[in-house]
């Protein structure tokens, strides 16, 4: 889960990483009140999970509560790269001396946590990585040892952070790492980390991604999630335990295992079709899950045909067949469903489907054959 900026900063504050004082507002009046509460100049920032909000006009300076209110009015409801702004963060403004970059992230290749710091902050770090790779200090934190002060020093001295900011920058790094580990984050990116004219070093932005697998030990995260809006179909799918992403095509896809589903999207494309979704029922799916998956897919009117591509391992094809038959029984099925079953109990599953004939239920033997059939059926429907 990606957090909004204000949520990321709340999380950093818990671990005593300094962030600017700020309040969230969902309408101009709240923004005015927030600015009054903070006093002085404030910044009004769109809360969206996409980069480039500054260029899009999503960040405005306000000298007084009236200006804050009207800035909020302009920003709220704005569409930034497809994200509609529902909240603004009002923060006390200050004078920035320098901007730096600081992040921790899970390094899949080294199987540890990588810390990165640069004196070139406030800009796209990918750009820095390409144009001036030596400007980024990188320090790997061994997962068992955890962070030690020298890691912080290597980042700060390695990045060439200004002498005036060094002490506080070094002090911020261990708590930031603890925030990462104790929140089960996979990314915490502070860009920019700033040196204020007051001499304080503060996280001016915070991009935090949390590991969903660890939700169970962070009851607090469900609160954070409640602020995230999810499309109805995705929300339903998630509730049912399905991994679903909406796409723009007309062939509905159900498969087991992310790799096989991705491969299915690829072969549908290669067969001249376009998938309507990505849907992974996961490992060990039972009949009910399959039936629910079919219900969710076929609830999308754009779907002209469905391709069910299952290779059973922990998943049993007999249960898959049972779920499909159940869906055909309880739903008013309007589109053809092409089913390809292989693996654990596949023969049993195929036999169950053969024993419950329906003209919209088409069994295919191979993955490529099933994809071609589904694409052909979807096209026939639209022709």
């Amino acid at each position: 889960m990606d957090l909004f900026e204000y949520q990321g900063k709340e999380l950093l504050r818990k671990f005593e990483v300094p962030v600017p004082e700020g309040r969230v507002a969902t309408n101009p009046d709240e923004a005015r009140a927030a600015a009054e509460g903070l006093g002085g100049k404030v910044v009004v920032k769109a809360q969206v999970q996409v980069g480039g909000r500054g260029k899009a006009g999503g960040i405005k300076l306000a000298s007084n509560p009236d200006e804050a209110s009207s800035a909020a009015e302009q920003i709220l409801g704005m569409d930034i790269k497809g994200h509609v702004v529902k909240r603004v963060l009002i923060e006390r403004a200050g004078i920035i001396e320098s901007e730096y970059y600081l992040s921790f992230l899970l390094d899949r290749s080294e199987r540890d946590v990588l810390g990165m710091m640069s004196a070139k902050g406030g800009i796209d770090i990918e750009e820095v990585a390409e144009t001036d790779p030596d400007a980024i200090a990188r320090v790997h934190i061994p997962p068992l040892l955890g962070i030690s002060d020298f890691h912080a020093r290597e980042l700060v001295f390695g990045a060439g952070i200004d002498a005036a900011a060094r002490k506080e920058a070094i002090a911020i790094i261990p708590p930031l790492y603890r925030a990462f580990v104790e929140s089960d984050a996979s990314l915490i990116e502070v860009n920019p980390l700033v040196l204020m004219d007051t001499g304080r070093v503060v996280a001016l932005d915070a991009k935090v991604t949390l590991d969903d697998s660890a939700d169970y030990r962070h009851p607090y995260f469900s609160e954070l999630k409640s602020a995230h809006e999810v499309p109805e179909q995705e929300r339903l799918a998630k509730e049912k335990g399905l991994n679903f992403i909406k796409l723009q095509g007309d062939v509905g896809i159900i498969g087991n295992g992310a790799g096989l589903v991705m491969s299915t999207l690829d072969v549908v494309k290669a067969a001249g079709g376009d998938s309507a979704n990505f849907l992974d029922v996961g490992g060990g799916a039972g009949a009910e899950l399959l039936s629910n998956a079919l219900e969710i897919i076929t609830s999308d009117k754009a779907v002209k045909a469905v391709l069910v591509n299952i290779f059973g391992g922990i998943t049993r094809c007999d249960l898959v067949a049972e779920g499909i038959i159940d869906a055909f029984g309880r739903l008013d099925m309007k589109v053809p469903v092409v089913v390809r079953l292989d693996g654990t109990n596949a023969e049993q599953g195929r036999k169950m489907l053969a024993d419950a004939p329906d003209e919209l239920l088409i069994a295919e033997k191979t993955m490529l054959g099933a994809a071609e059939k589904a694409v052909a059926l979807a096209h026939r429907g639209t022709d």
Binding site: R108, D112, I136, D266
Partner: protein, 291 residues
């Protein structure tokens, strides 16, 4: 000979008394795997269809000589189960469990690899390992496999089955199929397993099955160019996949790659590795190379 598991494998299943654990353990046993023990704390002294159950892996090892463990416990207990198996002296640990927190795995993997005793950890979130005709540990359906000279290593479970299935249908058997899992912190990566296949006299060719995200395929490509004498055929899923969840900009920087299927395929082909466009084509290329 095969790699990781074979005739000498003496398997203990952690979570044997659970529903999925007992189902798949039984299938592994029926395949011919030497299932010697199960572990469920508090159920020591009982048995599951004649397989003795112990309270700790340590006890299972001392009583039965178990040398491989299959981890079938819920995600929040998985890292602990892996550590327990390791510290009890198990040599090959295969973790099927899905949804293990990444930082739990980072710590467990660091402990297992850092101990320097050559223990292999496969997974988590992986389908397991099968050496056709010898042993099957995990959830890979044994009936789709056949004995032969092709090693296979894959980040994806069901894609593994698909490709193994296609190979078998083309009459190309496998030495060992290894599902390393698609989690952010895998116990073993492509290079770990390729190293074993390179040294395995029963393996003549290796199939590498990758997918979008990370840079494991790119690293494997680079490493293989310098270290593999045996041919590799690859597949990468996700050419048309939605961008989905990204790790932010920093993710891409670390890996030095965008993590896209296109970038991975380019890296593999750049290292002289043939890449199939779909699972069927992979099997065709393998059959062609094998003559």
């Amino acid at each position: 000979m095969a790699i990781l598991i074979g005739r000498d494998t003496r398997l203990v299943v952690q979570g044997l008394t659970g529903r999925e654990g007992s189902f798949h353990a039984k299938r592994n046993q029926e395949y011919g795997t030497d299932l010697v023990a199960g572990v469920t704390p508090g159920k020591g002294g009982s048995d599951v269809s004649g397989t003795p159950v112990f309270d700790t892996v340590e006890r299972a090892v001392s009583e039965t000589g178990a040398n491989a463990a299959l981890v079938f416990v819920p995600p929040r207990f998985a890292a602990d189960a892996i550590l327990e198996a390791h510290d009890a002296g198990i040599e090959v640990i295969i973790a099927v469990t899905e949804g293990v927190p990444a930082l739990d795995m980072a710590r467990a993997v660091a402990h297992v690899r850092g101990s320097g005793n050559g223990v292999y950890l496969i997974g988590p979130n992986c389908p397991g390992v099968i050496s056709p005709g010898l042993a099957n540990v995990g959830i890979i359906p044994g009936e789709i496999c056949s004995e032969g000279p092709v090693g296979l290593v894959s980040r994806s479970g069901t894609l593994t089955y698909q490709i193994v299935h296609e190979l078998t249908q083309k009459g190309v058997g496998q030495s060992t199929c290894v599902g390393i899992g698609g989690d952010p912190i895998p116990g073993s990566n492509f290079i770990d397993i390729l190293t074993l296949f390179e040294d395995d006299q029963d393996t003549e060719l290796v199939v590498v099955v990758g997918e979008i995200g990370g840079d494991a395929e790119e690293r494997a490509a680079e490493w293989s160019k310098a270290n593999m004498t045996k041919p590799i055929v690859a597949y990468v899923a996700g050419l048309t996949a939605p961008e989905g969840k990204r790790m932010g900009h920093a993710g891409a920087i670390v890996s030095g790659s965008k993590g896209t299927a296109k970038a991975k395929i380019e890296a593999l082909e750049g290292a002289g590795i043939r890449v199939g466009r779909n699972p069927t084509e992979v099997a065709e290329i393998v059959a062609e190379i094998k003559g």
